[in-house]
Symmetry: C2
Subunit: 192 residues, 2 copies
DNA sequence: ACCTGAACACCGTTCAAGT
DNA sequence: ACCTGAACACCGTTCAAGT
């Protein structure tokens, strides 16, 4: 960084960086949809040749993983409240972050990136604090995340074009799932 | 069909048809994954030029919709039993059918195809028979389908490579969701 | 170290024929 | 009616330079 002071500011269009590439990629995905994201188009948006991107990301999959990573990492940690309130808050955040541009379907691939791991840790912590034994907390989190990811896909479907209807649909199922989890917390099953 | 008897059987490699194309496409997706399905490769597998396929499907999306349509249509209708047993059976079938080759993420697009509509009708019928009012049945089905679709994605993730573990994970969340729905059936909420 | 060019091996799809 | 060819406008990515 800055090994010799540039003669003039803005002489070069700002050096490339993971950060700058991810910002541009996100913008492109949000504006034109995930199908329109190509390395070539992204490079063009950054006024750079396509191959320049490969110095920062191994390939397109790595770039998409990084987008999901950052989106998940940006989900706000829940505030004070009961475990149900906290879980609701966390998953609403996740749904909003992953819904943009069909990122949900890429979650499985990116499960082990820092951002997604942090999100999962947050979810697990809520469940542990609620009293779920470790193993059941893991299963409960998996169920909640699966439901949320599934909802980002089916929720953008044609019959639920209405955003608030989609939200209400998500909340209905989430409350039922939380009800079921709460019941299992009160009277644990003998097995499983 | 057969406007003049062919001089010899197997003189021509069997005429193209939607059925034959779909069979080949399914085989390709199951064997090599959905990313490997291209119109060109599919045409090659059928020993035909790429453009021949376009006489049977408007474009690649239409072909993929048809694959999902047929997969959903092939899900066995549930047998006798309680509504929970029937729903379990239906969704296990759906999960198996959609899990093959990442078809789940294409469900939203194909929501209005006959096969997926039939599947939804089956699910709604179970819920209506269980006593859910029409509107709540629709929401419950949406939740159950979202969870199932989400599970086909997250279930194939790295940490759950073990199939039986993935199945157990799916069942855990499904039972919790069914518990929650059953509870709502017994004591309906004032609103929602 | 970082970016450029050209090239390779693919895509989906249009359009104008062939039979 | 059904399939062929060639072509167009794209892809992701490798490789060998340039500065």
């Amino acid at each position: 960084m800055g090994r010799a002071s540039a003669k003039k500011e803005a002489e070069r269009p700002a050096a490339l960086s993971r950060e700058r590439i991810l910002d541009a990629a996100r913008k492109l995905v949000e504006r034109e949809g995930p199908d329109r994201l190509s390395m070539r188009r992204l490079a063009q948006a950054l006024d750079v040749w396509p191959m320049a991107l490969y110095r920062y990301f191994e390939d397109k999959d790595a770039l998409l993983d990084a987008i999901v990573d950052r989106a998940a990492g940006d989900v706000a940690p829940p505030g004070e409240g009961t475990w149900r309130e906290q879980m609701r808050e966390l998953l609403h955040g996740a749904r909003a972050a992953l819904g943009r541009g069909g990122l949900g379907e890429r979650i499985p691939r990116a499960m082990l990136t820092p951002g997604v791991l942090r999100l999962s840790e947050e979810g697990l912590a809520i469940l542990r604090a609620a009293g779920f034994p470790e193993e059941e907390a893991a299963r409960a989190w998996h169920a909640l995340l699966s439901y949320t990811v599934g909802s980002t896909l089916t929720g953008s479907s044609s019959e639920l074009a209405d955003v608030s209807a989609a939200d209400a649909g998500f909340d209905y199922g989430l409350e039922r799932l939380l009800d079921g989890l709460a019941a299992s917390l009160e009277s644990p099953a003998v097995t499983s």
